[in-house]
Subunit: 124 residues, 2 copies
DNA sequence: ACCTTGTTCAACCAAAAGGTTGACAAAGCC
DNA sequence: GGCTTTGTCAACCTTTTGGTTGAACAAGGT
């Protein structure tokens, strides 16, 4: 839709592809050239080259030069961006859940069903 | 490409969209109905309905029923899946980086350039 | 200079994503 | 019963994505 979306979108989008996730997994064990990366997959070298481009645009990898080879290196810092985003909302959701639990404790004597949990969540 | 891809692909793919990420952020503060969720965005209710479906298929949200309303609820557990994946490879990459550092320490007297760092990473 | 190896660029294609509008279902309100 | 609210289904359109092939570029090796 938008030509160049925000960082987080590109990172999540890059990792949404299983082939690219697998490549990241392998790069975590050490740098690799394009053909080394391509070896296990049943697709053209060009397709792999494109995948690496996507990872690079997401800031997940960087490429150097070694003669004709273009070694691909995993840049782990971007992971922090994701982790922060995830943790933020997970914590928020968990805190909310705990507040709900506490509320349920306080009114445990009353005959209320789960609908109350949900309603409190939406309103509070 | 594949009709129903693995869980992780669907989760990352779902969060690759900024609108959906925003919806998740808002749901972390409490459940909401479809129209409540749709309100801030300049798109049709149908488009929002589709977004919610994507989040649901990714296991990020679930829907209950309250009269005509379909309250959307954030399921935080799926976040663990992502976090685990991310942490695994980040740690691996960091450990590798530290081993490289240690290696560099041991051979600090020699006149070696960064190429050695890269080569060790690819071969080891 | 020429060949080989490693990688990218360009054009093209099919499928998926994200949006639209129109019709319809489901449940409360008058 | 009929209207209104809330949401989904279906058909359609456009852009993006992930793949293809063929040509080209880059940098040693001989």
């Amino acid at each position: 839709m938008v030509e160049h979306e925000d960082r987080l979108s590109r990172v999540f989008s890059a990792l949404a592809d299983p082939t690219r996730r697998d490549m990241v997994a392998r790069l975590a064990a050490g740098d690799a050239t394009v053909s080394e990366l391509a070896a296990p997959y049943d697709v053209s070298l060009q397709a792999v080259s494109k995948h690496i481009q996507v990872l690079e645009e997401a800031g997940l990898v960087s490429r150097s030069r070694d003669a004709q080879r273009r070694p691909v290196h995993l840049d782990a810092e971007v992971f922090d961006l994701m982790t922060k985003w995830i943790e933020r909302y997970r914590q928020q959701a968990e805190e909310r859940y705990q507040r709900l639990d506490a509320l349920l404790d306080r009114m445990q004597g009353r005959e209320q069903d789960l609908t109350d949990r949900r309603n409190e969540g939406a309103a509070g």
